[in-house]
Point group: D2
Chain length 403, copies 4
């Protein structure tokens, strides 16, 4: 595990002593008042908004120190929300910190870091719009006097119910000194023309506010609320996505560790056929595979975080690999824990099957495993082709006969 | 990838420009004279014995900087031997550096670092002696006047043919101020009572000198050639094994990268059913999985190397995990490359199937995957049991009903 | 696919034309009245109770012809219930057909086959009672005048809410001409001393009546309601379990085929990056792996059904293998379909994630994969040891050296 | 296991009593004289050429009875050759039986069945000719007076050294009443214009005569030696390929069973950490997975053989699935056996690593796993598209919202 700060230790204590005892029962969600109470305690404990800039009330940790902290937070399914380090807010904070104007930061970012409001990131659209293929973006922003009119429909907009504002991705024509492309725009969610719904049933519940459809009908966004420069939306999306993918990995890795601890406790505490379950090899093989999954996930997250601090290109490549590996590894770890806990694992006896449902969608959102694999293969093929073009000898020229 | 030194870049150039063109053809081994010629060039190029102490003629790199260098060396199956960074000599150098007396270092370590001689590590025994279970050690060293008489049989003694000296592990009785236990002893291979053979057929060929049986019949070892303190053999074995496991991972990871480059070249250069193979998804899935295996192996090696520098206990745990993951990952990567190169992959057209045979035994030596998994599970179970005993709440207490 | 009867074709038509259009929406369960309506239609269509004896109103198919029919039924999650071929009733019918007296058949089996009542099989107990290890049976039946008093607690008693009668497994002392052991007893669920609850939250919903705890406090069972002979309970459990495991495989294989059809439709109908998804190799690899899983599951079910008709021993061995393979294969198939359908796959857009939750517990009930693997390995080890004892030469005697 | 004939039992006894004791040592091949001696014994024992027509001296077993016999033969790596049931001869016999004229059968098939000569099947070509994509066939047969002149180069021509005749696939122009296409031609290997070489190094050795290049330079083939009708070559190739793929599965499944028996013997006979290895769960998990692989392979071979007897289309689909599953399963089984036997598994101590190398190419020849997966996915996609076109409702239409 990488650079472990004092914040990580504080977070660990806070989550175990304060957060876990407050977790809601099977099938329930955390009431708003309870979340507010826990957040107040988190602020007192000095563990609130660890990733956000100190100037705005965060703890200002650099990216390479996030992993141990976010893993500790994720040890409870409600931990990241309590610490204000949950998606989509956490990624939006990062994006606004890097791209937003001072004025936008005061208006939108400061209350977000403070935990006074929630936000959404409105990019995904119903088929055939922007989904796995972002280029298919169908929502548009039309130039009008003093601003833009946004129209289109989004879906899987996590956290939309109750959110204060949205970052909307829309297609824009070339105007003045800006080329055509995708543009990010900020808008309060109570702006005229925004309609939330229908809601979408999902199997995970960690993000408050659901994942509904959101419709935009000629929503007016003044020029002051354009985020960064028009036409640069896809570039900014990458700024957000690299770290956002990794923080998902970190949080869910924490939850996977919780599942593994549950499995180890069960293995240590139960006997089967007269032996402690922990000594039965079929169980040992599962436990060991999970340890390997946890350790390799932890290591590749650190490597990707370091790469992101070094260079955008390297960071994108390695965070893509980390995303695939971690999303699949955490799911395997929890699945094995379910298996080791038997009937309790698939019922309300233990929360494990809920955890499994909680992480299942992560193999799909932020780029499905298949889309990432396609991109990883293409990136590797092209890098190698460039190397060969630059003089590396081709290695696949077969010898004729056995020399 | 971790701390990348200038040595890594030099090694990369040296291996591609000097070593690869000198690789022997399918089924042949590198002649001794050719090895000597290449080693001379390696010394000139400043890439020889990168891990060994500078006082003895090595480059003195710290453990955390080995990985990129050893990976570059391993990019050629003969690279590690050319750089004098191959097993078992490399692990023996480490062991002698830490444990040997000044006199022993002059006599045994200096010529080993210089590449003037080869060495063996004589621990493994025929069943039911020391194999997967080191405690079963059957070879003994009996106290006699001025030294010890070693008797027993070892097997899979890599590099024995032509080696100058051996580090032998033997069971010793308590004597004077030393307790009973395993003891390491140094002995020239031409000492009276040492007999090599029979040889054992293997499918890998990277280590010169085979992996034969070696028999010791009342071989006299003077007190001055006892390595460290009597009775401490198993502790010293760990000193050797932690890094030695990792350097195997590093070297073979380099070879796996070579296989992946071969597969990428083939995928970029061939068409199938009218499309470049690199664009066919079934191939892309294989290529992507290999990229993930390479990146996670690289990351967990770095994590384990850092842990080894931090603490023995953490280092042992993580190097065990790294060993299982890397030994299986490099084998999968090469297997996929074989698959992507079709007929050439399983024949003398390309060296890939040789590479596959070269790395297959690594899933068995230095502790089989199964033995490691057993140890990993047990270590995790015990660590968790200690944590629970120290106050962590048990997580597996099932709720009765769906509350 | 094995012997395909006309019943299979009729069932196929019935499920597609009548059952699928009646499936409840996301998160809803089938109302009782609707089930009754569908069952009436199933009787008319000549597809009701295909496995039950004709004398009692079933279609009387022999075991080797069940698979195609049950697969067609399972193509809809409510299909097996509509056809009265769902667990636990279907397995109970088999058990009663083989073991029950004529009188018991009239009283309990006839209304069960007719679909007038539901039943439960009360074997599993809370830890440390009968779970993975049936020998731990804690519920007892005490001999009293004219019958037995049953006391103990069961859990995961599928279908208990609303069931008319139970088959209870209890430990009995030796009495008269019967030895001590486990005994099966029939009892109406409204007998004095039976209390249902608490209920247990689960993620699957295909079986009506939940999976609650059921408590027995001195429940009187007259001698006439003992099933078969006292002390023979474990033997009868095997009679039930062999085919019951296989029918689970058959039903869930039908649902997995439905998921694969959904994925194929999506792959045929959608484009990604400008190509039909069905032509993208990463998708093709998933689709092909699912085809392989479906075909091997189908084949091994047929092999196990044939073995069950041939001999109990062979049948037990092969049905255990089939159970592990199929329970894992159907889960992989549905998981891949979820993946290929992206956001719709993990939300209420499509029923796939419900299907995944529906089959997840099958890797645990009727013997977990781990328990079966342990038993499969032990069975293979012992069979081989017997063969060697009977004269087969041992094959693991290693040659010394490479002679 | 399917219909088990008396021949299977005789073959089992013959292989264990006669063939296994005659197996050559590590790295050696069976001398021709020894093969002849064993074949004479096989004829006497009534186990020779079990698949060939009785009229020509075979045992005349129907396809659905081959599997148990071929598995027993494959239990020894030299078994199939001794029984004259080895590739490529066995597949060539099948092809000649179905397609060849009476005269051709007398001249070519009869001595082949008798074991007096060996044959080759010359289809595969060096890139970019006929490899994974048969349509790329580059060898041509040019019409001349009274016959054809064949020119081109083939490679991986198994058994070429010492073979008496070849079946050559060549591209032909339309002539008279035959369309253009691929044509099969028979030719003695000593015909003018045939040159064998260079040889190709491979890692497997079960097929006598190597897998060299073979060059054809204006080799004259008279009309009487055209096999079947001109232009029908690809159709005939399917006649050969369906069963030939399956017989490979059967033979290698027999060898995998031998490996599993070796592993079981080792597990039963050795202790590790004080327990019999067979009781250690990590070993049990490997053994159980191998039992599952063996049983599912056996079952899917039977299903594919039955499908081949039923219809060409169904047979092709299922034999493709069986080929992928079995080629990967046998390789996994042997790999696990290697692992369980540790150092002996990867050395000349036991033959296991040779077995592993023997079966590795089967994942590539007769269509690589990737090519088959591509074909399996495409076949499934098209079949489903046809079903939907014929009225099956599309299943992937997502519901909007969670209604």
């Amino acid at each position: 595990m990488s650079a472990r700060s004092e914040v990580a230790d504080r977070t660990r204590s806070f989550v175990r002593e304060v957060v876990i005892p407050a977790e809601p029962a099977w099938g329930r969600t955390l009431p708003d008042a309870e979340l507010a109470r826990l957040r107040a305690l988190a602020r007192e404990a000095g563990v609130f908004a660890p990733h956000a800039p100190t100037a705005l009330g965060g703890l200002g940790l650099p990216l390479r120190e996030w992993s141990p902290v976010f893993q500790e937070a994720g040890y409870s399914p409600i931990g990241p929300a309590v610490l204000n380090a949950m998606a989509p807010d956490e990624g939006n904070m990062r994006l606004l910190e890097v791209v937003a104007s001072d004025e936008q930061q005061e208006r939108y970012l400061r209350p977000l870091v403070a935990g006074d409001v929630r936000s959404v990131f409105a990019m995904t659209e119903p088929h055939p719009g922007a989904g796995s293929d972002p280029d298919a973006l169908a929502t548009t922003a039309r130039r009008v006097d003093g601003g833009w009119l946004v129209s289109g429909e989004k879906r899987f907009i996590s956290g939309a119910e109750g959110a204060a504002f949205a970052i909307v991705m829309a297609r824009t024509e070339a105007t003045g000194d800006h080329g055509a492309g995708a543009t990010m725009l900020l808008t309060p969610m109570d702006a005229a023309g925004i309609r939330i719904g229908p809601s979408i049933g999902t199997i995970e519940a960690a993000i408050a506010g659901g994942h509904p459809y959101v419709r935009f009908d000629d929503v007016f966004v003044p020029d002051a609320d354009v985020l960064g420069a028009p036409g640069q939306g896809f570039r900014y999306a990458q700024v957000r996505l690299g770290p956002a993918r990794l923080t998902h990995c970190m949080r869910w890795l924490g939850l996977a560790r919780r599942a593994q601890h549950t499995a180890l406790d069960r293995a240590n505490g139960r006997e089967l056929f007269g032996s402690p379950l922990a000594d039965l090899g079929v169980a040992q093989a599962l436990l060991a595979d999970s340890e390997i999954d946890l350790a390799t996930s932890d290591a590749v997250i650190d490597a990707a975080a370091a790469a992101l601090e070094r260079s955008d290109r390297e960071g994108a490549a390695l965070s893509s690999i980390a995303k695939v590996h971690c999303s699949e590894a955490v799911w395997r770890v929890i699945d094995r824990a379910v298996q080791l806990c038997g009937g309790d694992g698939v019922s309300s006896g233990l929360p494990l099957i809920q955890y499994l449902n909680e992480v299942r969608p992560f193999r799909i959102y932020d780029g499905s495993s298949e889309t990432h694999r396609w991109a990883i293969a293409r990136r590797a093929s092209r890098a190698r082709a460039r190397a060969v073009a630059a003089g590396e000898p081709r290695l696949d020229i077969a010898v004729r006969g056995d020399g």
